[in-house]
Amino acid sequence: MDQNSAKTPSLPNNGTEGIDFDLEQPLWCLEELQKAAIEHRLLRPRSLAWAIMLNALPPPNADIVSRLKCHRNFYDDLKVKLSMDPRAVIGDDPLSQNDKSAWRQHFCDNELKTVILQDVVRTFPDELYFREKDVQDLMVRVLFYWARSHSHVGYRQGMHEILAPLLFELYLDRKFAPRAISDKLKIILDEDYLEHDSYMLFNTVMQGLERFYVTGDVVPSPSGRMPSSRMIHNPNEVVRYLEKVKEDYLFPLDPELATHLTNFNISLELFGIRWLRLLFGREFPRAQLAPLWGFLFAQGPALPRLHYVVVAALLAARASLLDNDPGAVLSALMRPSHASAAHVCALALHLWRPLEHPRPPPPPPPRAADSHPAEPTRERRETWNIEVVGSEAVSSGSESEGVAEGGDVSRSLAALAVLRAHLPPAAAALAAALPRPPPDALPHLRRILHLAALLQCKNHTLIDVETALEAAEGQQPTDNIGRKQLVPVTAIAVKNKPNKQNFGPLNKVKEVQLKVFHQVECDRAGDLPCLDPLRLRTE
């Protein structure tokens, strides 16, 4: 990234106020905001940038104020609707057993608020802001009204740590706003609407996260209690999502790591549930959270890049995760990441669009002391620095929107080059490792060898293999609507492996994962990556 553009975004008194709180700048359009978010250089008010990227508000040049007022009125109405005074209801009484009784609802509501408060008081224990009673009460109200108006989800533990960083950004934006700001900004940063705007942002972010909170067919009682487990049959969506991430992304991208975790019986849900429900809030120092969230929010409330961040976070910890002691692997997964959020974002970006975003250099290895198994799980907690400095900005090149005409062809050629370089030796090694392959594996092995023979070619030596492989994975449906695409359909090492025992040695033969590609017509619009596990949901 251009160092000059990486100005420390928004330190309160470093003379950048004019830049930070100036909606007249060209930066304040969706496209520019997305670009800035990817490069970790969003300006204040950052909460406004988030709201625009999440489609909750239009850009400032559109009618942002009326939309904002709409959101605020909605919240006021919601509050009125959901806080009926039971004494005002004629013919109802506090002992009523009727499900529809306003009194009964009143008691349930009180219990739900108690349940929420019990968690809210534990929000970021080391952050003074969240020790204030007013702040805690605000959080309880926002979570309560959200839970009541989303009764199929209800309140679940973890939501408070989604709300808290949003609220904190809204608060910081108000706190750092200079006196002289435009009338528009004055309305946007109105102190009186901190709670309303928190609800707006929380509600928007939850659109993407709700699915990670619902648990099968279980719905919490109106008072916020979870029913007992016997009724639970459906696997949770979060578990399904993580399984899909593992199968469709981790396995193809890093079969060795995926197999290693599988062998140790470590499923992604063990830590993935926390990663997703808290949107990585515990995995990185809190100062790095806002840039990470900006990165995630850049593509709208469906968070279509999320699974790349999951995989990138795993790949960034690869060295510790390949340890031979399952306990050490677990500890590594339960601790905050050693890699910075900036690194993980850059890696996610690379996995997403390898051609446009080079792979970031690997993070420094973890210090030896950090891998002690008895270390408490959340040791490395840094307090929330008021501001984030862009020193670790992602080293991504500028986004080249719109791929060149020959993009598809070059990708196909690149994919072919990878196959030529890697399939024949891998197939040969596989054959050597399996002198007597099991009968049901034999036809597959033959087919692989046949394909390898077909690919034998003289002039593949000059091709940059690493780049080429990544190219094959860098499908961008947004740029390829209606055109032909390469879609990896099989990861040979995974799906066609003759048997598990030979999988390990096979991996050592090659550095990269092999794939078989075929061409499909892609005529779907939409901004989700082609392999997006969520695509099925949204179709």
Partner: protein, 214 residues
Amino acid sequence: MAYAYLFKYIIIGDTGVGKSCLLLQFTDKRFQPVHDLTIGVEFGARMITIDGKQIKLQIWDTAGQEAFRSITRSYYRGAAGALLVYDITRRETFNHLTTWLEDARQHSNSNMVIMLIGNKSDLESRREVKKEEGEAFAREHGLVFMETSAKTAANVEEAFINTAKEIYEKIQEGVFDINNEANGIKIGPQHSTGAGAGGAGGAGAGGASSGGCC
């Protein structure tokens, strides 16, 4: 690190009873007055010595609200010991014990050792559940019982270690099939037969294996 056995524990109980604080006190010897909420599961480990043998405790700390039972039950199945925790200053956490116990029994192996823990014993003035009640509940359901304070560390070591002792005795009695990892017990590297992995520090290897056959 070499160990004779590895025991897997789970800690269960309502939100806010002090599960994570008990774990932190045990693994780290410190107390955090406000602990952030456990989402899903957390994980801790510590080495203890019983009968001259190094035993590694691998402890799974669980979320209170959804009881993570809705997430996966495999943790129950794979546990040799469970700490079932309530808060002596909040009666409802005691009232919910039956549900927790049912759940644990339903999804665990039948030999799992369950230790009932009344936590926050330092808050005597706010006590809502008498010690006798905890004892009675434990007696009735065949559990081991202790009152602890994660804050003062009172009985915390004992709770984890006594559970391990119970498990160890059961191994000696041959109750546990130690070769089945689903029971939450794993034999340390120096015990594994035929591996020939140096056998360093395998002081009690013979004793333990002979204990299994009586």
